[in-house]
Subunit: 349 residues, 2 copies
Amino acid sequence: MKNFDINEDPHRRYNPLINEWVLVSPHRAKRPWQGQNEKIHTDALPEYDPTCYLCPGNVRANGESNPKYESSFVFENDFAAVKQQPILFEENSKPTFFKAKPERGIARVVCFSPRHDLTLPEMNLPSIENIIRTWQKEYTDLGSVDYINHVQIFENKGSVMGCSNPHPHGQIWAQSSLPTQVEKTQNSLKAYFEKNQSNLLQDYLQEELKLKERIVIENERFVALVPFWAIWPFETMIIGKRHVTKITDFTPEEVSDYASILKRLTIKYDNLFETSFPYSSGIHQAPTDGESHPEWQFHMHFYPPLLRSASVKKFMVGYEMMGEAQRDITPEKSAAVLKALPEVHYKNK
Amino acid sequence: MKNFDINEDPHRRYNPLINEWVLVSPHRAKRPWQGQNEKIHTDALPEYDPTCYLCPGNVRANGESNPKYESSFVFENDFAAVKQQPILFEENSKPTFFKAKPERGIARVVCFSPRHDLTLPEMNLPSIENIIRTWQKEYTDLGSVDYINHVQIFENKGSVMGCSNPHPHGQIWAQSSLPTQVEKTQNSLKAYFEKNQSNLLQDYLQEELKLKERIVIENERFVALVPFWAIWPFETMIIGKRHVTKITDFTPEEVSDYASILKRLTIKYDNLFETSFPYSSGIHQAPTDGESHPEWQFHMHFYPPLLRSASVKKFMVGYEMMGEAQRDITPEKSAAVLKALPEVHYKNK
Ligand SMILES: O=P(O)(O)O[C@H]1O[C@H](CO)[C@@H](O)[C@H](O)[C@H]1O
Ligand SMILES: O=P(O)(O)O[C@H]1O[C@H](CO)[C@@H](O)[C@H](O)[C@H]1O
């Protein structure tokens, strides 16, 4: 019988953050692709687009005008999925099958830059530091609203990720409940902390720094790596080397190093297929429920959909929806590919 | 303060099958859409396509020729995500962070019809019954392989669901482990069964049949409904009215009624946006591990991506990936829309 070779044989890997498995099929990247190709948008964008509702000075759907902002700009989402209005609700005795609860929250849009044509990899470091400081301010402001217990910062980039406007921006959905994925993560972090009196992600990072198989880039205070249990072909995670539960605890040096690793990682992403690389990214950190949460570790996920080229993505469909996530190349392979890419943006070559 | 109105106010609903929540934002369907539109394929397909590797008599990637089959046809997936080869593996003492196990399995493709241009809603009832009998045979054959403990039957339909060939077909991935989603479902079904000595989905169905708010169609032995906790805009579930743990337990009458409800449901789907409606569907049923599994109830999920039209889908991205699934119209609204649609296929009007 053949000995198990993790680089060759189909296997499952365990994700200790959410207590789920992923099916890894290393050999499967070789299959030919006859399916759907994504549209590639290669038109150069203007610095200012008079029809863009996010550009400085322009009018939004609700009739308000954006200020002539010069760095970042935050406003309430005109079509928020959650609302601030308090709702009277009596827990009733309906059977388990019909459990529903009103959810209060605040949804905001964060414009990263007045420039319509720039994304993170092409911005300068002071601009990226400014975005991080904006996230810090929003986490503090939203988190201090009495009924807000969780602040989800995220970005959808690229039309393939449902992003309807190329103007660089992210979103923040703050709400009273812990969302499902965050609650799962917190349960795992808590169980580990109670058992080991230490932090799951910090302990994991120590092991990864020894093995050096999945590290993409690092600097003095941050690491970007492909998690051992990554689902998306080029999924990565940014973690700080110090145990920090939330973004507002970063020192000014950490803000700089975080900005720098964000820029370097997204440059590599753009260079991978020489395209403005689509992804959803998001920050997981301590909830704003007033507890101390030593089990938490600030980290940022990048979930990019592309698999083979700028136009061929991984489809998380039938088996993945009914069974479990499945990937076609190993995380080690992906990390090696990303690591080998140049750190100069392809447009500036 | 305003009283909670489940038809108007943002809320969360609980999914007792997998113990997760979904964020429902009824008001949000009104937002304008400026994002990506899917390509719509309207070209009429030929009954036989000489370049299709699934058509009868044609040659596949591995050089083998398909037989001149006349009903359904099953073959091993040429690019399987799992392999049959046994792998020698010693459980080692690596830390929690690097848990991996080899996974054995068999992956098959099920061609639904020799006709290249037909999909379920356009097939006749005997052909659909034949597909169900093929699924029964595969569940039995694959399930009786000693190392196979789970048989996942599913279909990806439409290029937007990663389907690379319009020839009507589904897949079966059979493997030694219970996939993550199935394990979560089994845990919930088991806990309910142990607590109540009855079946979660049968009890749920009784309530739904009383309320009649989410039933799309029914016949003597089957119901198609939009689950109270549905994630996808037009998600549905087919359940039998009798407690049956697996597809091989269906009586001939149940096979007929199942075929009939499959046809009626997929006709409604096609009629919704007058397009060949994309979805991933899949059957959840008892594992093939040799236990009796009274907690299980055979059911079939349909996860269709479309939201507003044939070309605008729901994107499960940033917030959904980091936080939790979010939907823009209520399941009750979706059920009413589907219920009101004609049962004659739009092409035959
Ligand atoms: O097996 P296929 O049709 O080539 O591939 C399709 O279905 C599989 C199972 O859901 C997915 O893993 C693939 O991403 C998808 O493109
Ligand atoms: O808020 P947007 O950009 O209009 O919408 C996008 O992001 C949201 C949050 O991830 C998703 O719910 C939508 O499906 C997606 O199209």
